[in-house]
């Protein structure tokens, strides 16, 4: 007996699971990815702890909690800081810049000043405590 062959229907591939998976992948990568670019500011060792030595005397920059800046004791603004740092580092690229932030200043303020110094060409920046913050119990 010959059976009649049914003609096969062209198989239709369901696209819905594929689309679901692609959307899930997209969500995973969107949530798991980070688009922020990170960098690093390098802090040289403090003076007297085996850090770099410089032929030129270090420049002491103090930063107040209110953002006030002093250059070797004299009040300055950021433009002066950039200009004078660029002048000094052009003469001596090993010039040590000592940044003395007030204890109440925040990390962002310190980073801003370090940015200004680095932008002006300073390569050796150290952090020291502001003389007014020194705890006598340390001695």
């Amino acid at each position: 007996m010959q059976l009649a062959r049914r003609p096969r229907r062209a198989g239709f591939m369901g696209l819905t699971p594929l689309i679901d998976m692609i959307f899930l992948l997209l969500l995973f990568f969107l949530l798991g990815s980070d688009f922020v670019t990170y960098g690093q500011s390098r802090l040289a060792p403090p003076r007297g702890t085996g850090g770099a030595t410089s032929a030129a005397p270090p420049v002491v920059i103090t930063l107040g909690a209110n953002g006030a800046l002093n250059w070797n004791g004299a009040p300055i603004d950021t433009a002066f800081l950039r200009r004078e740092t660029a002048k000094l580092t052009a003469q001596n690229d090993e010039q040590i810049m000592v940044l003395m932030p007030a204890g109440a200043a925040n990390v962002q303020q310190v980073t801003d000043i370090m940015d200004a110094l680095q932008g002006a060409g300073a390569q050796s920046i150290t952090l020291e405590r502001d003389v007014f913050d020194i705890d006598l119990a340390d001695f």
Partner: protein
Amino acid sequence: MQLKNTRREMKSIDLLPLINVVFLLILFVLIAGRPSTNHPSGLEVARSTVQSEHEGAALSIWLKQDDGFYLSDIKPVTLSEVSDLVVEKGIAAQGLPLELIADRRATAKQLLAFRRAMAAAGVGEIRLKTELKSDATP
């Protein structure tokens, strides 16, 4: 009079353009993004305008907004504990740098205390992690 058959034919939506676009989106995210960092929740890294290369360090320490130092997200550690770990791991002996991931709202007092404690432990270079501002100059 014969009326026209008004029954609409079912039209299938062409899904290929949609799939193409979604694949392109995945490619964009894969290329432009990178795996997210494991910063503890709420930590906001200081913003910087100077573009610099971010390099790995032997040990990363977090300084959170509460002025506490953390090695994990659970409990704060003291600076002497960090110093002991640095000595134990031989970081200072090998001259390896440390990375400090500091919250921008933390106080400079803690930053200075960390710098001095690590210098006493023999660590030379400390790298302060920063986040590049969008208007930064290369």
